[in-house]
Amino acid sequence: MYDVIIVGAGVVGAHIARTLARYQLDILLLDKASDVGEGTTKANTAIVHAGYDAKPGSNKARFNLAGNAMFDTVCRELDVEFDRCGSYVVGVSEEARATLEDLYRRGLENGTPGLELISGEEMRRREPGLTEDTVGALYAATGGIVDPFALCYAAAENAVANGVELRLETEVQGFIWEGDAIVGVETNRGPFRSRWVVIAAGLWVDDLMHEAGLEGFTITPRKGEYFVLDREAKTAVQNVLFPCPTPVSKGILVTPTIHGNVMLGPTAEDIEDKENLSTTAAGLNEVMTGALRLMPQLDARWIIRSFTGLRAAGSTGDFLIEIPDEVQGLLVLAGIESPGLTASPAIAEHVAAMLGEAGLPLVERPDFNPIRHGTPRFSLLSREEQEALIAQDPRYGRIVCRCETVTEAEIVAACHAPIPARTYDAMKRRTRIGTGRCQGAFDTPLVLEIMAREYGVSPLELTQKGGASHMVVRRTKEVAE
């Protein structure tokens, strides 16, 4: 019997787990995927929004601002890469001036600090590659970029280190009822009972709400396609650049990533299938065209990867965070689309407070430790620090991923972390193997070998992302060793 079961280990579920781990509670965090953060959390723009564009008075505005303010502390405690580099909305037409002013006013109303309208010349001075059509920009000093994968797995790891139980590949298929009260979940791995069930299931929340007998709320998956550019592109792009927004999306951005690449996207297209993460010729074309409108000199030869993220666009247009009257023991988080990543730490605080008010005893745990230490990233260290590490553990001396300079020690550490990276993609998100310009061509055989050795399994059992995504399918004829 748990006190709380959290369904969904995306960035929202992970932060809720970590926040509740401060208290003397038995907590179970469940996800149907093979790793934490496999949902929307792994595929988004990774921007810590300043909070000027959400509708004043909305949950989005409230939690965006509150979340943004928590990032320095949260990322320091969790050892997550975060850069409060500021962000820009760039106007490239006369009509855009009015939009920029609207955004500025809305930002003031929302209480966004550090906003400033700047001229086109000033903007181009700060970002020389911008189009000559640039008429002006809105600068938001509190905007930033973050490692979205790490924000999720670090929070989940810290939760686990503080006693939260995590079960992956565990899909909630229904609820255990006692009268009108939900007292647990039915899963593919059997039932789990609890006093509270918190649903943070992203795209799938409406299905679970339906299962809980709640009507009316629907999620529409809204596809966003992206390109990732080689590090070389970083020479041409310094800043987080949004175009002027439209009613459905914030438009095609050009932005550096926290890891030194450049990202272009996303598109915005409503679709039906919640698992359709494919890119399309039309979408990718729109990404490039949109990006070139801001930065005409971007070079298509810099492209190293494309991907798709799905926004969990809710039917109310705002974050829905509630304990529904109709059912006891249930808290739902629905429609957590952008700025959900930014809002996640603040949403978690709010959820804890709601549960406390609803009667869950929140007694602080004396031994709660908010600090998580990640594995040192060899490529980011000084030569002296690198030497010291190799002296401690010679496996830091063996480079396994040539493009991103990832060492064997980092891969081994990710195999034995509180949440082990069991798949190639999980390893990629932990260590950055395979994310550079050769896209895994060099490291794949080496990583398979190391993971097989560390887990004591055959490479035949390893997958790219769980399920049937095996990387190799059989041995060749027996080869002499």
């Binding site: 890119t279 010729a281 990867r305 010679p394 001396g397 480079i399 896209q439 794949t444 992302k465």
Partner: protein, 423 residues
């Protein structure tokens, strides 16, 4: 950091690095050091278990590992200092090299001459921006070659190969021999991009369906690849509507081009030719940075390993002489420009005093195939300084053209000459 000293340092122990290091030693450089990131020497050769290597170099038809082994034996005999499992992380303009290894930690080496021989890497899917899903089962042909030939694992059962590069063709045969099915090889161009001999021996002999002017328009599948949608293309290489067809497969191999590996070269301030992807070099394979030379696929992608060894020896000889005799005097040079139907020419410049002493062999690739006799000419204005006949010209087959020493005096009148290939 541990400091090491040597005369000539070579980065990469493929056929280029081995030949350059060996030759530098023959020139009298005393301490020649070879750094290799893999645990085995030989570069890409250990995974190329097919034959066809060394016919010119050794007069024998060898497999890749055999060819490598002969060179490795020579390297040991010449007492080269070899550090394997050692990755070079950084190279400065002053030739200061920082490398990392499990056994020695970080080491810093400042050689008197440096030879870049890092080879090339394969172009990944991302570079083609093929739409669709991102399941397991998409590999570059070279990665698959390593998995099959060195690790002993099959990456799939039913393959479609995109691109008709040599590695792709060789893998089509290998996979078939290993009991897999290769259901199609697709090439976006109207002609194959690898060697004719591989087409015959690896594709035709094994009845592998080859479709030209065709590409993969979409990848499908959730966990593993389940199928690819293939489509004909128009002149701009865009998929032609209405020509789609779905082919069931569990693996997509990409053999869509090699890119010289020049991250380190850039760090060292070496100027890179955007066409070849490799350094600008002169006839001695010296880059724009004095004392830094380049050899093998790092300069431009060769088709035959024998050519790699031959050219790398020139680079090694230049590095050796740079150490024993000092930098050659700066004197008059002429630039060689890619002219009509020529994609690129290596070397990019030729010093006339050195041409006077020794003929220089140019390597060039054409843009378009010409399946009839062609003339390869060195032209200055209306004048053809050299003109030679060849039976045909194909982008997949590098053309060698010799500039005789006698030409030096005539070239002195020009800053630059054009190399043309015309029918």
């Amino acid at each position: 950091m541990k400091q090491l000293a040597c005369d000539v340092l070579v980065i990469g122990s493929g056929p280029a690095g081995l030949a350059a290091a060996w030759e530098a030693k023959q020139q009298g450089a005393e301490r020649v050091m070879l750094l290799e990131r893999n645990d085995e020497l030989g570069g890409i050769l250990p995974q190329c278990i097919h034959n066809g290597f060394g016919v010119r170099e050794f007069g024998d038809d060898l497999t890749g590992p055999e060819y490598a082994y002969r060179w490795i034996a020579k390297a040991h005999e010449a007492r080269l200092e070899i550090l394997s499992e050692t990755m070079v992380l950084d190279v400065g303009r002053d030739r200061r090299v920082v490398a990392s290894s499990r056994d020695h930690g970080l080491v810093e080496i400042t050689p008197r001459a440096l030879v870049l021989a890092m080879g090339c890497r394969e172009r990944p899917r991302g570079a083609l921006a093929i739409p669709g899903s991102r399941p397991a089962g998409i590999y570059s042909a070279g990665t698959a070659q390593r998995l099959v030939n060195m690790e002993g694992y099959m990456p799939g059962r039913r393959f479609v190969i995109l691109g008709s590069g040599d590695i792709g063709m060789i893998m089509a045969r290998r996979l078939t021999l290993e009991g897999a099915e290769v259901v199609a090889m697709l090439e976006i161009l109207p002609y194959i991009s690898g060697l004719r001999r591989n087409l015959v021996q690896c594709i035709r002999d094994f009845d592998i369906p080859l479709e030209l002017c065709t590409t993969v328009a979409e990848v499908r599948g959730r966990d593993r690849v389940e199928s690819v949608v293939v489509s004909g293309v128009d002149e701009q290489w865009r998929p032609l509507p209405g020509t789609d067809r779905e082919i069931a497969c569990d693996t997509l191999l990409l053999s869509v081009g090699l890119i010289p590996e020049n991250e380190l070269s850039r760090m060292a301030g070496v100027a890179i030719d955007p066409v070849t992807g490799g350094p600008y070099v002169d006839e001695s394979f010296c880059t724009n940075v004095p004392g830094i030379f380049a050899a093998g696929n790092v300069v431009h992608v060769y088709d035959l390993v024998d050519d790699v060894s031959e050219n790398a020896r020139i680079a090694g000889r230049s590095a050796g002489r740079y150490v024993t005799q000092g930098a050659p005097p700066e004197d008059g040079s002429v630039r060689l420009l890619a002219g009509t139907n020529v994609r690129h020419v290596v070397p990019h410049t030729v010093h006339l005093s050195r041409l006077e002493q020794e003929a220089v062999v140019l390597n060039l690739r054409v843009r378009q195939p010409i399946e009839e006799p062609v003339r390869v000419e060195v032209r200055a204005g209306d004048e053809a300084l050299v003109s030679r006949r060849y039976r045909y010209a194909r982008p997949s087959e590098m053309i060698a053209l010799t500039l005789p020493s006698a030409l030096a005096s005539r070239l002195a009148a020009y800053d630059a000459v054009n190399i043309d290939v015309i029918s």
